[in-house]
């Protein structure tokens, strides 16, 4: 290989410093380029959703946005186009958009909400899913794990991550690496743009699949559930999966202070920005509701009561809106249950919120539930 050469000390110094400067500048330029011009390449999950949302908003210029945020339960269960919303002829119809992302708990909801605001998306209404198994910040749904496996990390996420995951060195290390060394972190994405022939077939397939996974099935951001449990064996396997991943998080229910703080931060920010917010407990099958012990039920009720007291936002309780037959597993609705549920959600929650009318007490989480085990739990 090439033999090396010596230079004078002053030139050596200039070369070394120029090398460091060029490396630092190129990484920074690449980071900015990917953030500004290639967001879908850098972060397909968020980039494609944002692009899709922008396209949807572009179809209805000046329309106010009703944004629904939450986990995969939102992503696969709420179909905005199935909501039969009625508007006065002279008013601009709001755009209802489902921004559900797999495993999104309160910290990631806050993170993505901040990203959307920074990218110029200003919702007028926000419907946020709350789900007790995501409050523990432990087990399968631990958000640090979800962020590492699902999200890409941007410069603007760093402060938030440092506040919420200051003791998670792996996550912070990953975040820093992605921000400081984008060439290495996004090598595959860059090669897929510049020289796809250098990628292995498996990697190319994986990247194409990743993009496909981020494209919603309809204009309202709803995704088709990619798995359906139909046969009794499949349903049993799905039950076992829930028994392993969800049940331990409900016995007992733990509310991690970070999860609580993120939700409160989100609610405070919405209050400051005059965004109308509602929280929502999504449908669960009866067996999942049965996993809540009396103590768990009491903890959930007490927490929601406290939250409602501090932030008087409506808390929609839709836990028992859907029959067991319409569930694919312990937490996700099957496709056949989605239209009816979405239609009811539109009629009983979205329409009144848009019309600025109070929600019916029948759909609201009631403080009287505290201490007694309702059908829901």
């Amino acid at each position: 290989m090439p033999s090396l050469f010596l230079t004078s000390a002053p030139k050596g110094k200039r070369i070394a410093l120029w090398t460091l400067a060029c490396i630092a500048a190129s990484q920074m330029a690449l980071s900015i380029y990917l953030d500004q011009s290639r967001l879908e390449t850098r972060d397909p999950l968020y980039g494609h959703r944002l692009k899709h949302l922008r396209q949807r908003l572009a179809e209805s210029p000046n329309a106010p946005l009703f944004l629904i945020m939450g986990s995969s339960r939102v992503k696969y269960s709420i179909w905005p186009d199935a909501m039969k919303l009625h508007f006065h002829n002279n008013s601009t119809q709001p755009v209802v958009y489902n921004f559900g992302i797999n495993g999104m708990g309160t910290i990631r909801e806050l993170m993505h909400f901040r990203r959307l605001l920074a990218d110029g998306i200003q919702p007028q209404w926000l419907l946020v899913e709350i789900w007790p198994p995501l409050w523990a910040e432990a087990g399968f749904f631990r958000e640090a794990r979800m962020i590492q496996s699902e999200d890409d990390l941007h410069w603007r996420d760093l402060l938030l991550l440092c506040r919420y995951f200051y003791n998670d060195r792996d996550l912070l290390h990953l975040a820093l690496q992605k921000c400081l060394a984008p060439l290495r972190s996004y090598r595959d994405a860059l090669l897929s743009l510049a020289a796809p022939s250098l990628l292995s077939p498996e990697k190319r397939r994986e990247m194409q699949q990743k993009v496909r996974d981020t494209l919603p099935a309809d204009r309202g951001g709803w995704f088709l559930l990619p798995w359906e449990s139909i046969t009794p064996e499949e349903k049993h396997r799905a039950w076992l999966d829930g028994d392993e991943k969800i049940k331990p998080l409900l016995q007992p229910v733990c509310i991690d202070p970070r999860s609580d703080a993120a939700l409160r931060e989100l609610l405070s920010e919405c209050r400051q920005r005059n965004i109308k917010v509602a929280l929502m407990l999504l449908p669960e099958p009866s067996w999942t509701r049965g996993w809540y012990t009396a103590e768990a039920h009491a903890v959930v009720c007490a927490y929601l009561s406290r939250l409602h007291h501090d932030y008087p936002v409506p808390i929609v309780d839709a836990r028992a809106w859907v029959s067991d037959d319409d569930f694919s597993d312990s937490s996700h609705m099957a496709k056949k249950g989605v239209p009816a549920f979405s239609e009811r959600l539109g009629r009983e929650v979205v329409q009144p919120l848009i019309d600025d009318k109070p929600l019916s007490p029948a759909v609201l989480f009631a403080e009287r539930d505290t201490g007694q085990r309702s059908e829901g739990f």
Binding site: T7, R187, L198, K203
Partner: protein, 488 residues
């Protein structure tokens, strides 16, 4: 912490800044000791402590050897040191190998299985630092160097992180005086170190790791592939192992230069060697010269006739194979190298009586032919080195020579046969990496690039280095693979 990882680069940049900011030479030495300990402890802190303890024992024994008056005492202390160093090496690296081999022999003789394998972790780089400790002890015993009085200096000689885990094998007489020498931040050396490091990084990430994509699947399931694919895999592995190890060595030399230390060159374009003897003078030079000085010559070298020379070559090269790993294929690789060296010696002597043949072989086309022949011979022997067992190696040789039964039409491009019944692998990557390596060798051999490069202004050179760094990161296939020589 791999040299090509971002975490190492951050570690090294921080260390470098603190190191040159310190005004005291002794503080720098202890900083390097601490950094080297941390470097090893990130992998396993208990083995890092064990390494320090064994180093301390060697330190005391060397002082004892120097102070003792009688030859018997000196011999005894040398034996204790050798026993301790080789004992640790054998325990960690070879115990399971010997136990399992013995067990296989007993089973073959009809007995039941007697031995259970021990659950031990092989410490990274144990073969390297054991050889360094041995060369120090033997040199002190022979009176070639004085025993080191300062424990910090001696600890740094063994622990110095650039050479700790994969060499080059450093000689005490070369390294210890460097520790004592006053140092100042020298931009000439920093620039040189940067060049070495970037070249090593590029070799490792852009060439070695990419070639692994072509070699690994074939070596794992040779019989599933067609003959051209096996040939390609063999050449790919030859390029992988060279760029992996020489890339590591370049990075080690580069980091050492930036800290003010000079490590010995370990490779000198070995694939341009015109015969196998020359090859071993260009390949893993620090190991070859160690084996020559501490095994081959003490055995008698080539002074006692041809048969004893052959015997010494077989012992030395077989031990060289065993040094690489505790498995019979490594032993077989060493033995094959010995056979090649013996055949070359015989051919060389025969050629001396054939002036016309020798003239042809020494001509330019003849030399190119010899280079190609040496390269192919070494590549063929590497099959044994890379295979997990002799039967796997035999499968490779079988497929090299006998075409697979034609199930379907063979693809026109041999590389397309690499992933049977799947889709086209990234063939462009193979030719790109091979082309870069060939051009690199040609440029290195002729040196024609140096004069124009020297004329380039500093910003341009800095930009070129940044491009080289970027290309290394960009062309790395999928996550850095561990260095092959880490396992040794």
């Amino acid at each position: 912490m791999l040299f090509c990882s971002i975490s190492f680069m951050v570690f090294f940049v921080v260390l470098l800044c603190i190191y040159w900011a310190l005004p005291w030479q002794r503080a720098r030495v202890w900083l390097l000791v601490a950094a080297s300990f941390y470097f090893y402890a990130t992998w396993n802190k208990w083995l890092a402590i064990l390494l320090c303890i064994s180093t301390f024992i060697d330190y005391l024994l060397a002082l004892g050897i120097e102070k003792s008056q009688t030859a018997r005492k000196r011999q005894l202390m040398l034996c204790v040191s050798l026993f301790a160093n080789l004992g640790l090496l054998c325990y960690f690296k070879y115990t399971n190998f010997f136990l399992l081999s013995l067990d296989e022999v007993l089973i073959a003789m009809g007995a039941s299985s007697w031995f259970r394998s021990l659950k031990v972790i092989v410490p990274i780089g144990i073969s390297f630092y054991t050889f360094e400790a041995i060369n120090y002890m033997v040199d002190v015993y022979r009176g070639r160097i004085r025993a080191e009085r300062n424990f910090g200096d001696f600890l740094l000689f063994i622990l110095f992180f650039p050479h700790l885990v994969s060499g080059p094998i450093v000689r005490a007489r070369d390294f210890l005086p460097q520790i004592k020498r006053p140092k100042h931040c020298d931009w000439v050396r920093l620039h040189l170190g940067l060049q070495y490091f970037l070249m090593g990084l590029f070799k490792k990430l852009a060439i070695a790791d990419r070639m692994a994509q072509f070699a690994d699947p074939v070596f794992d399931h040779a019989l599933d592939f067609q003959t051209p694919a096996v040939w390609v895999a063999m050449f790919a592995y030859a390029m992988q192992v060279y760029c992996d190890f020489s890339g590591y060595t370049d990075m080690a030399i580069g980091t050492a230069h930036m800290l003010g230390y000079k490590l010995a060159e370990n490779f000198n374009m070995p694939y341009l060697a015109a015969n196998i003897s020359e090859f071993w003078n260009r390949w893993h030079i620090s190991l070859s010269s160690w084996l020559r000085d501490y095994i081959f010559i003490p055995l008698g070298g080539s002074r006692n006739g041809e048969w004893k020379t052959r015997r010494n070559l077989i012992i030395t090269m077989t031990l060289c194979g065993l040094w690489h790993g505790a498995a019979w294929p490594f032993v077989g690789f060493g033995f094959l190298q010995a056979c090649l060296l013996i055949v070359h010696r015989a051919f060389h002597r025969w050629c001396k009586h054939q002036p016309r043949l020798e003239g042809v072989l020494r001509s330019r086309p003849g030399t190119m032919m010899r280079i190609a022949f040496t390269f192919v011979c070494f590549c063929l022997s590497l099959i044994v080195f890379r295979s997990s067992s002799f039967s796997n190696a035999l499968d490779m040789y079988k497929r090299l020579l006998i075409a697979a039964p034609a199930v379907e039409q063979a693809p026109s491009d041999p590389l397309l046969a690499l992933v049977p019944k799947l889709e086209q692998p990234p063939v462009f990557g193979f030719w790109l990496a091979a082309g870069i390596m060939l051009i690199g060798h040609l440029l290195g051999r002729t040196g024609i690039w140096i004069r124009p490069a020297l004329r380039l202004p500093a910003p341009m050179l800095g930009f070129s280095y940044a491009v080289l760094f970027g290309l290394a990161l960009l062309l790395e296939p999928q996550g850095a693979k561990p260095f092959i020589y880490f396992q040794f």
